[in-house]
């Protein structure tokens, strides 16, 4: 962190000074003042960082995580572990040189509600994550070293005691209850809390590049470039290029970010939920515990159809906001088999006998194919001439499936117990045709489940029945602490 601060401060102080002034200063006889000023800035930045580091402490309690930070404006944050939505370990490029990580614990409190503990040594971050997940899962965890919840310095220096008494180890099988939990089978030791993970799949680099080349953003970029070239030839003005540069840079930056962010994407499953690991410059290792996925979207952009590739995105509470693009991807690109495998990791049971048939019909079926989907009536083709055959929904025992889109095909899956609220809307044209659009409101994220232009009767029935289904599914839903359900 200090190193990063130094680098950034150094860059800033160089950038701030006007170039001309800098050159005259360097060539003049008072050149040494520049060095002194730089050193002063570096010293101030360094001491600020040291102070900030000293003020940042965290502690793990029985049911909460505490974080204290800030120098002038102090902040204390307590997060309840049973409300934990995900635990991510992020390693930016600079931190990687020093072997440091930042651990972020998302709770469902909206933007900036997470607890970011940074920076930690890599192994400490892994252990902390394992401990947090074990506690959030409802396993009994005791610290054999200092009393539980003793403040620990959030820094490499202070947590340097490795694999020693300061470690969290699980209490052996609790004498009275919770027998037969899978985690307790693992021998106690430094890594004993780490739930065993099974790799499921990884995305080959070639396919990732091909998928980005065939993505919607790339199509837009190429079309834009063609327009620019045509305009340039027609007008003979080269200034067109420089005028269109910002848009090209923006699209290029997005594509580059997608490529580096989703580089070496690996999906694994563990008792603590789905594990994702990805990134080239900044690596992220995400853990999404069971039952935290609010909605899933499978989407296929138009040029992916030939290879039958799909992208899987999720809504997880706390993942919304600016980092949505990086966090909410469960599979950047994969075959249909892989996409459905990933879907089954987060929603293991759809509550039907033959999920594959329903899912296939949702992915590329339309109203001409025989399926259980309730589709939009033929009269809506005037409202949605391209995709009206695709608009539809079906209900299974555990989830609501909504499909739409013909160029860009979309299938949204919302488990009944994760429905927040339901909406129905109808414009003047829709009223005339006797149709209405149905929405499921989910937490902030890339998935916005809706079924456009349903027959008014179907929509009203779906609205009434879905409210009932969501209620009974919530009553039957598993506990927030996911390991407790085996113990009972």
């Amino acid at each position: 962190m200090v190193g990063a601060a130094l680098v950034i401060l150094g860059q800033q102080s160089l950038d701030d000074g006007p170039r001309g002034g800098l050159i005259t200063l360097v060539s003049g006889e008072y050149w040494w003042t520049l060095l002194v000023a730089l050193a002063a800035v570096a010293l101030v930045g360094w001491s600020y960082s040291v102070l900030a580091w000293r003020m940042t402490t965290y502690a793990i309690g029985e049911e909460t995580v505490h974080l204290r930070r800030g120098i002038l404006f102090r902040q204390q944050r307590h997060a309840r572990l049973d409300r934990l939505q995900s635990v991510d370990i992020r390693q930016p490029l600079v931190a990687r040189f020093f072997g440091l990580c930042e651990l972020t614990l998302e709770t469902a409190g909206g933007t900036d509600s997470g607890v970011a503990i940074g920076f930690l040594k890599g192994s400490d971050a892994d252990e902390l994550r394992a401990e947090l997940l074990a506690r959030a899962a409802g396993l009994k965890v005791a610290r054999t070293g200092p009393a539980a919840g003793a403040p620990t310095q959030a820094s490499p220096g202070a947590v340097a005691a490795p694999a020693g008494p300061g470690h969290a180890v699980p209490v052996g099988p609790a004498p009275e209850g919770q027998p037969g939990q899978p985690l307790e089978a693992v021998a106690p030791g430094p890594t004993s809390l780490e739930a065993p993970q099974v790799p499921v799949l990884s995305v080959p680099l070639g396919r990732l590049i091909a998928s980005v080349v065939r993505s919607g953003a790339m199509i837009t970029l190429v079309a834009w470039a063609l327009v620019v070239v045509v305009v340039m030839i027609a007008t003979g003005e080269f200034a067109v290029i420089s005028a269109s540069l910002p848009a090209v840079l923006g699209a290029g930056g997005y594509l580059f970010g997608r490529l580096t962010g989703e580089f070496d994407f690996r999906v694994a499953i563990s008792p603590d939920g789905v594990r994702l690991r990805h990134g080239m410059l900044e690596t992220r290792s995400q853990t999404i515990p069971p039952g935290r996925v609010q909605a899933v979207r499978l989407v296929q952009s138009v040029l992916w159809r030939g290879r039958d590739w799909w992208r899987v995105q999720v809504n997880v509470a706390g993942y919304g906001g600016e980092s949505e693009e990086k966090n909410s991807v469960l599979l950047p690109v994969g075959t249909r088999e892989e996409a459905l495998t990933v879907l089954s990791l987060v929603l293991p049971d759809l509550g039907v006998d033959e999920p594959r048939r329903i899912l296939d019909a949702g992915l590329d079926g339309d109203s001409r194919t025989e399926s259980v989907y309730v589709t939009a009536p033929r009269r809506t083709r005037i409202l949605d001439p391209v995709a009206w055959r695709r608009n539809g929904f079906t209900v299974t025992g555990r989830a609501l499936l909504l499909r739409r889109g013909r160029m860009v095909k979309i299938l949204d899956v919302v488990p009944h117990e994760r429905t927040q609220s339901l909406g129905l809307s109808q414009g003047p044209w829709q009223r005339r045709l006797g149709v209405a659009s149905f929405q499921v409101h989910s937490t902030e994220g890339p998935v916005h489940p809706e079924a456009p232009h349903l027959d008014a009767g179907d929509a009203a029935r779906l609205m009434a029945e879905q409210a009932t289904r969501a209620r009974s599914a919530r009553a039957a839903a598993g506990p927030e602490r996911w390991m407790e359900r085996q113990g009972e």
Partner: protein, 160 residues
């Protein structure tokens, strides 16, 4: 054809008609000022400024006609397990919010609302998409609804 906005087992409560005043006053101010300016300029400088006066006048007339209908279209209903809110004349919408999904309830009243004896109740779930607000409630009814929603939400509270 039955409307999907009229579930059969629901009795809708209406909001106070004073909401018409509360909505018309800001509309009159924001549209009336450019209208008056336009009229003054048209009389003193050039008849072309009648255009400037005409456009807000049309919008104002439209609002005066539409707002009473919009207010009458707002309805809410407390069912056993969820709250229904509907609104809109041309573009209709209805939202169902289960009590167990409510994260918090806001009661707001601006200066004009307070003068007229009105308050707005807004429900928040974990979704930003939930647009569940009931404007134009008398303060007593707003307080009653708030307490009732809070207690029902507590009784049916579920995780996310």
């Amino acid at each position: 054809m039955t409307s999907p906005f009229e579930p059969h087992d629901v009795t809708w409560s209406r909001v106070s008609p004073r909401l018409v005043t509360a909505m018309l006053v800001p509309a009159t101010i924001s549209l009336g000022i450019p209208m008056v300016v336009g009229v003054v300029l048209a009389v003193t400088i050039s008849p072309w400024f009648w255009l400037l006066a005409g456009v807000p006048a049309v919008f104002l007339l439209w609002s005066i006609l539409l707002i009473p209908r919009q207010v009458r279209a707002i309805g809410y209903a407390e069912r056993d397990d969820d709250l229904l809110i509907r609104k809109g004349v041309m573009f209709r919408s209805m939202v169902v919010v289960p009590y167990g999904r409510m994260q918090y309830v806001d009661v707001e009243a601006g200066p004009l609302d307070r003068k007229l004896g009105l308050a707005k109740v807004q429900l928040h779930t974990a979704s930003v998409g939930t647009d569940a607000q009931i404007p134009g409630l008398p303060p007593d009814e707003a307080a009653r609804l708030r307490d009732r929603l809070a207690s029902r939400g507590e009784a049916r509270l579920a995780g996310l």
